[in-house]
């Protein structure tokens, strides 16, 4: 509620002056509390570091104590022996000597440590920027150890001082100092080994990321003074300094010209890991936090309010710039460093490093998708891929057999990134549930600072929640209670969610496909068919998954649409049918790409190190032709068929056995080799049948031309006989031909379209109206007298029949089909 006292007091200058003093006082108090808290955290961490140092040396300490205990045990037994040999037992004075020695050891170690660190600094850190050198001074383990050693040394000196002043010996300190000295001595060995790590100038970067994480925690809701603009500003400045240092470390690591750059890889990986965590944390950072980098935006004169422009005009100045916040400032700086060495790595052949970077990028992209930042994720993926491809395709392309397998892996990994993005969005779909939103909204205490961030709302809704919070608090001040109901609040949040969902779905349905195409075009233009094939495979996976998940997106979208209560809120519109049409067009284009690339690859001998993209593409194209033919899409069929035909015969040539023997093994190999040709014959048979069924000559026209061209080239009789024999081989008795399962699937799909065996199934007469079709061929298939629909038989009995001379034996299935066809013709 607004206090009348406030309104009364606010009229006086003294009130604002007193308030300013109070704010300053409060800030000083908070700053002190902040400093104390930081110091406490620091000390706690140091204590933990010391603990870990102690635990790392504990075995040696225990061993040393055990030895000491053994000596203590053995010492009294050896007393007569000492006496016999005249060895004197140490007196009280030795105590002081022993303490002095311990202190001396401490002093020596301290000196030695700093000597070694100075050596490292002089040799490795003399040429680095100051901020990187400062990392050495802030090295935590060494500093903690030095502090411990310094305290131990000084304790010994103090004890000596007390003894000299006449104080009695403190027996208790003897075991304690012994143990502490043990840790000091053995810890020094460990630390000595660690000093070698300091020669790697990037080894201290981990501390920087740790610092950055601590700062992010402090600006998140619940962090100390997270809501205070002064502290947010302070955090921003601290983080900017750390980012400067990280950039410097990256530059140093990038300059290392080794063949394997582990520090750089580790740094990039740490950066992307940090960014993933930061992305999730952003939903807990106020949108208006001064943690985000400020940038000044100058407003348009004619878009500014009258009072402001009048004031500026009277004062004779320009309009004051507005402060805008760059909410991606950390990402921009870290990504530019983490991805800055891509080109250098590729040039140096450090493909493993790039692969490692892509694995980290995959995790980061997943976080981006899960938090609803799909378009940013896609932009990042596209940028990285284009840089990699641009570098890869520099210079002369390798021959078909010389493609680098590691590059294939890179192309495959890049192709999988959009899939990761899409799947992460699927995982985030439950956030779009209105009931869930309403339950969370009902739990918010609007007057409690930070409560809006603690309910687990998605990142895109944060600014809308802040908008609501300001207005609902205003309502409470005006009316004494929140007036706007939960359904209206949820409406505003759902609006933000749907706007984001629309952008995400459009990015996945349009931009991602465009990105794949652009990548493929780049690789095609630079003659890299293997890399292109790897991408096409991923594109196919992407499209298949998108088809499946589009239904889920649509269901969620419709549910949100139906639950709307206010129509005039500027709801986003999304046409899923249009999106599906675009996906269909993209799929069709992808089959063409597959056919082209598969044909190119079929001209080379594939090493076992490469995946058989050619075989996969050939198979997929066969399936695609059947699918398109079944829906009477002649254009799509004609785009693929000629290349499919060529690849089939190329594949046969590759698989054909080289042995001249005619034993059963060679025959078996030959049957396997003939499979692609038989596939092409089967597909062609179905094209003939479906073109008659749909009464669409275009469906078979292109395939007919391809076959005719093939047969016209050389001895056509011989080729026809060869094809006839190939069909015969596939139908040998008591044998299931190779790829029979796939072809029976085709038969079943085509059969269901043309109504094969309809008569047989329903015992209807041949003159049944349902079976009546202009084409004899279709009627034969429908009659069921050929039992199984077989595309090779259709091909043999129609196209090939005219090319074979009389007297040539035809395979039984062809003969049977021909008989039925003639019978049908006679009846006609």
């Amino acid at each position: 509620m607004v206090s009348p006292v406030y309104m009364r007091l606010a009229q006086f200058r003294r009130f604002w002056e007193a308030r300013q003093r109070l704010l300053r006082l409060n800030f000083s108090f908070l700053r002190t509390a902040f400093g104390l808290r930081r110091a406490y955290d620091e000390e706690l961490l140091n204590a933990r570091t010391l603990g870990s140092l102690a635990s790392a040396t504990i075995r040696q300490v225990v061993l040393a104590v055990a030895f000491a205990g053994l000596f203590q045990f053995v010492d009294p037994i050896l007393l007569p022996f000492y006496k016999y040999y005249g060895i004197s037992v140490p007196d009280d004075g030795d105590y002081a000597t022993w303490l002095a020695t311990t202190a001396g050891i401490g002093g020596v170690f301290i000196a030695l440590y700093y000597a070694s660190v100075s050596t490292v600094a002089a040799s490795m850190y003399s040429t680095v920027p100051n901020n990187v050198r400062a990392l050495l001074a802030r090295e935590r383990v060494g500093n903690t150890y030095m502090r411990f050693l310094a305290i131990l040394t000084f304790v010994c000196v103090c004890l000596l001082g007390f003894r000299l002043l006449g104080f009695p010996r403190v027996t208790l300190v003897i075991p304690l100092v012994v143990v502490a000295t043990g840790i000091g001595i053995i810890g020094f060995v460990k630390l000595g080994q660690r000093t070698f790590d300091l020669f790697d100038r990037t080894s201290l970067a981990r501390t920087l990321f740790y610092e950055l994480q601590r700062i992010v925690i402090s600006v998140k809701v619940g962090g100390q003074q997270w809501n205070d603009a002064n502290f947010q500003n302070h955090s921003n400045r601290l983080a900017a300094t750390i980012l400067d240092t990280i950039e410097a470390v990256f530059r140093i690591a990038g300059a290392e010209g080794t063949t394997k750059n582990d520090p750089l890889r580790e740094l990039s990986s740490m950066s992307l890991r940090f960014l993933g965590e930061y992305q999730r944390a952003k939903a807990l950072i106020p949108h208006t936090s001064k943690w985000y980098e400020k940038k000044f935006v100058h407003p348009d004169w004619y878009r500014t309010s009258d009072s402001t422009t009048s004031f500026a005009h009277q004062m004779g100045g320009v309009l004051q710039p507005k402060v805008d916040l760059n909410r991606r400032w950390v990402e921009e700086r870290l990504l530019s460093s983490a991805l800055g060495n891509i080109e250098a790595n590729i040039k140096a052949g450090r493909f493993t490093d790039i692969q490692s970077l892509l694995i980290s990028l995959d995790a980061y992209v997943k976080d981006l998708g899960a938090t609803g930042d799909i378009s940013q994720g896609m932009q990042l993926v596209d940028t990285v891929a284009k840089r990699i491809f641009a570098q890869i395709t520099e210079g002369e392309p390798p021959s078909l057999t010389d493609e680098n397998v590691e590059l294939l892996g890179l192309a495959d990994s890049l192709g999988s990134l959009p899939i990761t993005l899409m799947l992460s969005l699927v995982g985030a779909l439950p956030q779009l549930d209105r009931k869930d939103v309403e339950v969370k909204l009902a739990q918010i205490k609007w007057n409690v600072a930070g409560d809006i961030y603690r309910q687990g709302f998605a990142l895109p809704t944060i600014s809308r929640l802040e908008y609501l919070q300001d207005r609902l608090r205003f309502e409470k001040r005006c009316e004494g209670t929140v007036v706007t109901p939960v359904w209206y609040q949820s409406e505003l949040l759902i609006l933000a969610l749907t706007q984001n969902a629309r952008e995400s779905i459009v990015t996945l349905g349009e931009r991602a496909i465009q990105v794949y195409s652009e990548w493929c075009e780049t690789l095609e233009a630079n003659k890299r068919p293997w890399l292109r094939a790897a991408l096409i495979c991923r594109k196919e996976e992407y499209l298949n998954k998108l088809y499946v998940h589009l239904t889920k997106f649509e269901t969620t979208w419709i549910a949100m649409e139906q639950s709307r209560k206010i129509d005039g809120l500027g709801w986003s519109v999304l046409d899923f049918d249009e999106l599906r049409e675009k996906l269909d067009a993209a799929t069709s284009a992808m089959y063409s790409e597959m056919a082209t690339t598969g044909t190119i690859l079929s001209f080379s001998d594939r090493s076992d190190a490469y995946p058989d993209y050619g075989g996969k593409f050939l198979h997929t194209c066969g399936e695609a032709i059947i699918d398109y033919a079944c829906v009477n899409n002649a254009k799509a069929v004609s785009e693929i068929f000629s290349l499919y035909f060529l690849s089939s015969f190329k594949m046969f040539e590759k698989l054909r056995p080289t042995a001249t023997d005619v034993d059963w093994r060679a025959q078996s190999e030959l049957k396997v080799a003939l499979a692609p040709v038989l596939d092409a014959i089967e597909v062609s048979g179905y094209l003939i049948l479906l073109s008659e069924f749909f009464e669409n000559d275009e469906l078979w026209k292109n395939a007919n031309e391809v076959w005719s061209t093939y047969l016209a080239d050389g001895n056509s009789d011989e080729k026809a006989n060869w094809l006839n024999s190939a069909i015969g081989i596939s139908g040998a008795a008591m044998e299931i031909p190779h790829r029979a399962m796939i072809r029976s699937g085709w038969s079943s799909r085509v059969g269901s379209v043309v109504g094969a065996n309809a008569e047989l199934d329903s015992y209807r007469g041949e003159s049944s109206e349902e079976n009546a079709h202009k084409s004899e061929l279709v009627r034969v298939v429908r009659s069921g007298r050929t039992f199984f629909l077989d595309g090779t038989a259709v091909f043999g009995a129609t196209f090939l029949q005219d090319l074979l001379k009389d007297g040539v034996d035809r395979p039984s299935k062809v003969e049977n089909f021909l008989r039925q066809l003639n019978k049908q013709l006679e009846q006609t």
């Binding site: 509620m1 607004v2 009348p4 406030y6 309104m7 606010a10 009229q11 006086f12 200058r13 604002w16 002056e17 308030r19 300013q20 704010l23 609501l468 300001d470 207005r471 609902l472 205003f474 309502e475 001040r477 005006c478 009316e479 004494g480 007036v483 706007t484 109901p485 359904w487 209206y488 505003l492 209560k565 206010i566 129509d567 005039g568």
Partner: protein, 311 residues
């Protein structure tokens, strides 16, 4: 009995020029007073016929004529159309109420014809006793207003009407007006002055001040549902704007009912058995229904606007 020169019975002094207030500099107060009666009744002459509004006197025709005359004396215009006459009467009374929270009229009865008319006079310098009102005329105005020092007004010749209690009553209304006028909603006065004079300023959070000042004014005018003529969403949600919009219409409906009730009672006092009937204006229950339906999300803002429209 002859009365001394400094006293007179009846014929109230309408206003006191010497006590007239200078122009009120508070724009919020000015806007609020205007909004109490603006949009309160439909305008018919200037903006064309209202599609739905209709008003009439109900009673014997001669008495209806007399009631019309009484209303004409209030609006000081010669309307023929009853719709327009009633709307203007209500508007005029509301306008007079908006200044001081209540309005006073002297009932003047023509001795020859027995017809009644009303004349508005200022409530300032008026002492109210159970049966008599005393009006004390400032010395400066006596000559110009041709009035003695004291005017005695029998209560039977006075008709007064104020803001209904459900809207805070006359006293509450005047207090609201005082509060609205007390503070500037843009910045504290010292800050503006210091800025103009170029003096050093303490760190003043003007936007916080502005938000608090607006919330303060909206809080004290919440019974009236006053939006300060702001339909933007800089400080409130669209829903809250419409919530206040309904509240404003509800306040108008209460005020209308109150004026109607008081007018009918006046007619009764004047011996006229006349009542007033009005159609096409949202009633209190219409507003409550609209609010309840909007709260449950059954109707949208467009329909709320349509349901409560006066046109």
């Amino acid at each position: 009995m002859k009365l001394p020169r400094w006293i007179r019975i009846s014929s109230a002094v309408t206003h006191f020029p010497s006590k007239s207030r200078s122009f009120d500099r508070s724009p919020n107060k000015h806007m609020f007073m205007q909004d109490v009666h603006q949009g309160f009744m439909p305008y018919m002459r200037h903006s064309g016929e209202s599609a739905t509004f209709a008003a009439r006197f109900v009673g014997p025709s001669d008495q209806v004529q007399q009631a019309g005359q009484v209303c004409r004396s209030i609006v000081r215009e010669s309307y023929v159309d009853n719709d327009e006459l009633i709307a203007s009467t209500f508007r005029e009374i509301a306008s007079l109420i908006s200044w001081e929270g209540e309005a006073y009229f002297e009932i003047i009865t023509d001795a020859d014809t027995g017809k009644h008319s009303l004349r508005n006079f200022s409530r300032r310098r008026l002492a109210r006793l159970p049966f008599l009102y005393f009006q004390f005329v400032p010395s400066k105005d006596r000559e110009s207003m041709r009035a003695p020092a004291v005017v005695v007004l029998p209560r039977s010749t006075i008709w007064n009407i104020g803001v209904p209690f459900s809207l805070g009553g006359a006293f509450g209304y005047r207090r609201t007006l005082r509060k609205i006028g007390r503070y500037d909603t843009i910045s504290p006065k010292f800050w503006r002055n210091a800025l103009l004079e170029g003096n050093e300023l303490p760190r003043t959070d003007v936007s916080e001040y502005r938000g608090n000042a607006i919330a303060y004014i909206r809080k004290i005018t919440r019974r009236w549902g006053w939006n300060m003529r702001d339909f933007g969403q800089e400080l409130s949600t669209e829903y809250f704007t419409f919530y206040r919009y309904i509240k404003r219409h509800r306040a108008h409906a209460i005020l209308r009912d109150h004026i109607e009730c008081k007018l009918v009672a006046l007619f009764g006092r004047l011996g006229l058995s006349v009542s007033i009937e009005m159609d096409g204006l949202p009633s209190v229950s219409d507003c409550d229904t609209a609010l309840s339906l909007m709260q449950s999300g059954e109707i949208g803002f467009a329909e709320v606007s349509e349901r409560l429209s006066n046109d």
